[in-house]
């Protein structure tokens, strides 16, 4: 980064700060400033040209340091870019690319490239069809609302319904599978950012994660940049041939900060006082995700933006905007949360437009079966309220339904590999736990999951069952034969 004097001599243009409104500064002079150009101030602060007016320009400041009226400013002829390199993995960085060191770690000096944060999305000839599944480790999503690598899936729900936890689990599952994860915390509390880092560290995957964070005390300009920096880093790793998962937590906060900036710069307010280009602000970001053709083969950027809803209202402005930009949404229902379901995902109100094309025939079969069963179960539950006598069939359906709902419940820190999910579900479906209550069934399932992760034998038996079955009926038959052996692993030590 050059000094102010160097930029002044290079550009030959000067401006003076005339007015300061929070993080927006009005600068007179600089007659040839271009949109989104970086402006440097005499005191070392930097900002980006936000608006061009007749007699002045509005500059969005990135610095917390207060700036004085009369401070000199000059152009840099540069657009905002961030340094990207593989050593970012395992660290928290701010939206300008600087490391936020929390311990005495010394990051080695490595060669890096500068990457613009506002890149244009790739055009259609550089994109390819989404074919690989994106496992989340959350059973209800993997079985009912499957995702694909390169998909953009919105995560929507009221506050405190478990959305961030779901995303952390997804990032963990993907990191274990070798995907680079970029977790973007937009205007979050410092404690939340630290918790996310601790989560990844405790599970031993921090070296696959980059956390791009702006906390709530940062200037609005910096918070606004956060998701764009995260996406640029994701694009860097994609260009290296790696699959990337990017989590944007959350776009509602991002929209609010952009609204604040726009209103301060006296742009005309639209619906709900948001500026007219709020759709564009998010669309240009989300369109940068997808499945791409690179020199090193297909590489994907899977994007999971979070949007907060108010009292379950999916028809809000930002909510519907982002729903129309994404390839589906996972809805976190506060009613289900209140009933104690974790994760509180409503599979009937959730949509995946792309994930199903990545599923194998077997998974599609299971998905179809589950969907029709749960629809039937839902109808029957309403029927039960009448208090009429129930037939054996209905009782069996209700009992199975209860077990399926229990099967989908998952503790906050558990991720379940997809193959064992299918085996356990098939065991449930074929009646392995008919004579046991749902709580016992759940306990035994959790034990089997633990054993699966640590026991080679169980892992190979389960994986083989899934790999050798083409249809759900085949899998049921194969699992029925192996059920005593599988249940026999309960209580055995790990090998």
């Amino acid at each position: 980064m050059k000094s102010f004097e160097e930029y002044l001599n290079q550009s030959g243009e000067i401006g003076y700060v005339e007015e300061i409104t929070q993080s927006l500064v009005s600068v007179s002079g600089l007659p040839n400033a271009t949109p989104e150009e970086i402006i440097v101030f005499e005191d070392g602060s930097r900002g980006q040209v936000f608006s061009l007016l007749q007699d002045s320009i509005k500059v969005l400041l990135f610095s917390k340091k207060p700036i004085r009226v009369g401070t000199r400013a000059t152009r840099t002829h540069e657009l905002l870019s961030v340094p990207v390199h593989t050593e970012l993995l395992g660290h928290i960085i701010n939206p300008l690319g600087s490391l936020i060191s929390t311990e005495d770690e010394r990051v080695p000096e490595v060669p890096y490239t500068m990457r613009y944060i506002e890149n244009k999305p790739s055009s259609i000839q550089y994109r390819s069809r989404i074919t690989k599944p994106c496992d989340t480790g959350v059973t209800i999503v993997d079985m009912m609302v499957p995702l694909g690598r390169g998909q953009r899936e919105l995560v929507i729900g009221d506050r405190k319904t478990g959305k961030s936890n779901f995303l952390l689990k997804t990032a963990l599952t993907q990191a274990i599978q070798g995907t680079i994860c970029v977790y973007t915390a937009i205007g979050k509390k410092k404690t939340d950012i630290k918790k996310a880092q601790e989560f990844f560290k405790n599970h031993g995957v921090l070296n696959m994660i980059v956390i791009v964070a702006s906390d709530s005390q940062d200037p609005s300009g910096l918070i606004y940049l956060t998701p764009y920096t995260g996406m640029s880093i994701a694009e860097y790793f994609r260009d290296l041939g790696r699959d990337v998962l990017i989590v944007l937590d959350d776009l509602t906060t991002h929209a609010k900060y952009y609204r604040e900036i726009s209103l301060l710069s006296r742009r005309f307010p639209g619906r709900n006082s948001y500026p007219g280009d709020i759709f564009y602000v998010h669309a240009k970001l989300l369109e940068r995700a997808g499945n791409f053709k690179t020199d090193k083969g297909d590489a994907s950027i899977t994007c999971l933006p979070i949007v907060e809803s108010l009292q379950g209202d999916l028809t809000g402005y930002i909510q519907t905007n982002v729903m129309s930009m994404t390839d589906g949404h996972v809805f976190f229902d506060s009613d289900l949360f209140a009933k104690g379901h974790r994760p509180a995902i409503n599979p009937f109100l959730s949509v995946t437009r792309v994930g199903k094309q990545t599923q194998t025939t077997l998974k599609k079969d299971i998905n179809r079966e589950l969907n029709s069963f749960l629809t039937l179960f839902e109808k029957m539950q309403n029927f039960v309220h009448f208090g009429a006598e129930l037939s054996e069939n209905i009782k069996l359906t209700l009992a199975t339904g209860e077990r399926v709902i229990k099967f989908f419940d998952q503790s906050p820190f558990t991720v379940i590999p997809p193959k064992i999910q299918m085996v356990l579900f098939t065991m449930l479906w074929s009646g392995a736990w008919t004579n046991k209550d749902p709580d016992t069934m759940k306990k035994e399932m959790e034990q089997l999951i633990d054993i699966y992760k640590n026991n080679r034998n169980l892992r190979s038996v389960s994986d083989k069952l899934v790999e050798t079955s083409q249809t759900f009926n085949e899998l049921i038959n194969n699992v029925k034969k192996k059920t005593p052996e599988l249940l026999g692993y309960l209580g055995k030590p790990s090998v």
Binding site: L8, N9, S11, G12, I14, S28, G29, L30, T74
Partner: protein, 166 residues
């Protein structure tokens, strides 16, 4: 009014005139105010004579306070819209040098950069470290023609040669 504005050479003079006009306008309400005396007290001497001549030319009665107010408000607006040509030089100039500089700027600045109907005033700053030459700023354009910058460039580009010769 352009004749009056052409008497202003520096931003300091323009600011003094503006302050004087503010003071005059705030005193116009007083009973039996002597406008001529007020002008000579509040307006800088370099322009007060020209103002009185201009008022006489336009046959403005000094007792007509409404017209006097409009006149000075108009003068203030025009003074505030004068363009500022900033010049940083390494020495304290004499008044005649300032006048010469001002004249030179008006004559040499392209007409389209001067603005129609507007004048230019100099904003002079002293920086002895420049040694010679000047730094020029006008409408956001900045040019450093000082010896200091040229010497710095020489030391940066030909550092080894200079060190060898020492």
């Amino acid at each position: 009014m352009n004749d009056i504005l052409s008497l202003l050479h520096t931003k300091q003079e323009a600011d003094n005139l503006t302050a004087g006009i503010d003071s005059l306008l705030s005193s116009l309400y007083k009973k039996d105010v002597d406008v001529k005396m007020l002008i000579s007290k509040t307006i800088p001497a370099s322009v007060s004579g020209s103002i009185l001549d201009d008022l006489a030319k336009q046959n403005v009665a000094l007792q007509n306070l409404e017209i006097i107010q409009t006149y000075f408000e108009d003068l203030k607006t025009k003074t505030e819209s004068l363009k500022i040509f900033s010049l940083t030089i390494p020495f304290q100039p004499t008044y005649s040098f300032v006048k010469t500089l001002h004249q030179w700027v008006i004559e040499n600045l392209p007409a389209d950069r001067q603005g129609v109907g507007q004048g230019i005033v100099l904003n002079l700053q002293i920086d002895p470290t420049l040694r010679a030459g000047s730094i020029v700023e006008y409408e956001g354009i900045y040019r450093d023609y000082s010896i200091k910058k040229q010497l710095e460039e020489v030391f940066m580009n030909k550092k080894e040669e200079v060190l060898k010769s020492l």
